[in-house]
């Protein structure tokens, strides 16, 4: 080749040339694509919305006749928690596991996608799903199960559930970096369902063996449940230790996932 090798050093670096408006547009496009993509996937949306709603109707309404009056309100808190765990864990966990295997993640890494757009797109999708779930449950609670909440309680529960999906996005992300492809749904369910049970979302904690009851504090779902119960009017003590616990869990889990993604692609 007759081109001097040092020519490459004199080549003007490509001006980064993206105005902040276009970078913002890229983020918005990514979020929009991610939301549309899942809205149109019945295999994701139907179980995500239907499972918590069905369980709530079954336990709070059909089987709830003989229970104390507060049961339907208590179950609203715990099924909201159960419901909003799913979009993050499944949306991140299974999608990341599949996209690592089917080449989409590789393509996105090669393309000039803004680095956080991928995570942000999935996060917003999980929060929107969580919002839909908690609204649906509150609607069922007030119309069918006769739960009466003040406007403040409705706002608090909605906010808690929507933001509460984030620690489970982080957990899903970490699971997605560990498993690959077709094994992912099984693994995510193996974490999701036992964690829900051990946090007292399906049965009250007091029916669990003492050892498991004492361990409930290690599960993020237990802390989110405490916040949700506080939101619907049960006395669960101060909120800040639970919020702090969830924040630390989210940061540590995300950092672990980021480290794994960098190391293993």
């Amino acid at each position: 080749m007759n081109t001097p090798a040092n020519r490459i050093e004199t080549l003007q670096p490509l001006s980064s040339g993206m105005s902040w408006q276009r970078v913002l547009a890229a983020y918005l496009q990514e979020i929009r694509a991610e939301c549309l993509r899942y809205l149109r996937s019945p295999s994701f949306m139907v179980p995500t919305l239907l499972f918590p709603a069905t369980f709530y109707l079954l336990f709070a309404v059909v089987l709830g006749r003989s229970q104390p009056a507060d049961a339907a309100r208590f179950l609203l808190g715990s099924y909201a928690t159960f419901g909003v765990m799913a979009p993050g864990m499944f949306g991140f966990g299974i999608a990341l596991a599949q996209e690592r295997e089917n080449g989409l993640l590789t393509l996105k890494r090669a393309l000039p996608m803004p680095p956080l757009a991928y995570l942000l797109g999935k996060m917003v999708m999980a929060m929107m799903s969580a919002l839909a779930i908690v609204c649906l449950l509150q609607l069922l609670g007030s119309l069918v199960a006769g739960v009466q909440l003040s406007a403040l309680q409705v706002t608090r529960l909605t906010l808690t559930a929507t933001l509460g999906s984030l620690p489970f996005c982080a957990l899903g992300l970490l699971l997605g970096t560990v498993v690959k492809g077709s094994g992912a749904p099984a693994v995510v369910n193996l974490v999701y369902l036992p964690m829900a049970v051990l946090s007292g979302l399906w049965f009250p904690l007091k029916v669990l063996p003492p050892l498991l009851r004492d361990l409930a504090g290690i599960w993020p779902s237990h802390h989110l449940n405490m916040l949700a119960q506080g939101a619907v009017g049960f006395d669960t003590g101060a909120a800040w230790p639970h919020v702090l616990w969830l924040a630390v869990f989210t940061v540590v889990t995300t950092a672990l996932a980021a480290w794994r993604l960098r190391g293993h692609g």
Binding site: I8, P13, L14, R22, R40, E99, T106, P112
Partner: protein, 306 residues
Amino acid sequence: MTPHGEVLASLHGVHKRYGALLALDGIDLQLHAGQVLALLGPNGAGKTTTIALLLGLLRADGGQVRLLGQDPQQLASRRGIGVMLQASALPETLGVAELIRLVSSYYPTPRSLAETAALAGIEPLLKRRYGKLSGGQQRRVQFALAICGRPRLLFLDEPTVGLDLPARQQVWAAVRTLVTEGAAVVLTTHYLEEAERLADRVCVLLRGRIVSDGSVHALRTRVVNRSIRCITTLQADAVANWPGVLQVARDGAWLQLSSDQVESVVRQLLAADPQLQGLEVQPAGLGEAFNDLTNDDAADHQREAA
């Protein structure tokens, strides 16, 4: 060869190792504006690793990789490239136009949706869901995504696998358009015909090294053997003993020869059989040149091992 355009990307003395396997063993390569480079080589030769390094998907163990004057892992350098990889499953529930808009949004000055669709020949597909398309149609959408950002450097990994001839020609025409606009193209392919049609320059990789780098014509002329075909009554065994004749085979009335001294063999044939008809002389194809290269190397490798 046409004068070189500016260097858009380069590898200098690049090594890459996966555990015990040395995937790239000192690669030097420069990609020039306005040039189509075909990267050829058997599976495992290092083509995919070379491309992954240029795209910033991998880091070199040694040597230097530059993309548009920067480290390929810098986002800004990747804003000048377009990518079509071999296997990438795009979200099936998104429409084709939605996918193009999404990928276009990553670039500073993308083409319009209409321009991208026209160039890739996918206008009728814009409203369809990606998951409902045939394999060949999906491949063309992936090509559209590669060109939508007006890239200065385009990476195409086996771009026309699964395409019928008209679709393949459409892709070739689009690549030509981009090259006249001054883009550089890196192409890996198993279809030597594709390399022959499209590439200005062919680079052959073998066991992590570049064993040949030059024009298609230069690669072809590395092979001195050409083939001769004619209708003659001459006996194959007799012709086989002539100087310069490497192989002879009879095929009905036809005699098929391979020779490294075609001119003198033809003269001798015409002299020996005045009735000779239907004389054809053909140059070695890229396929033969490629086989020749890889066989030479295999032989060398065996000698080294012995």
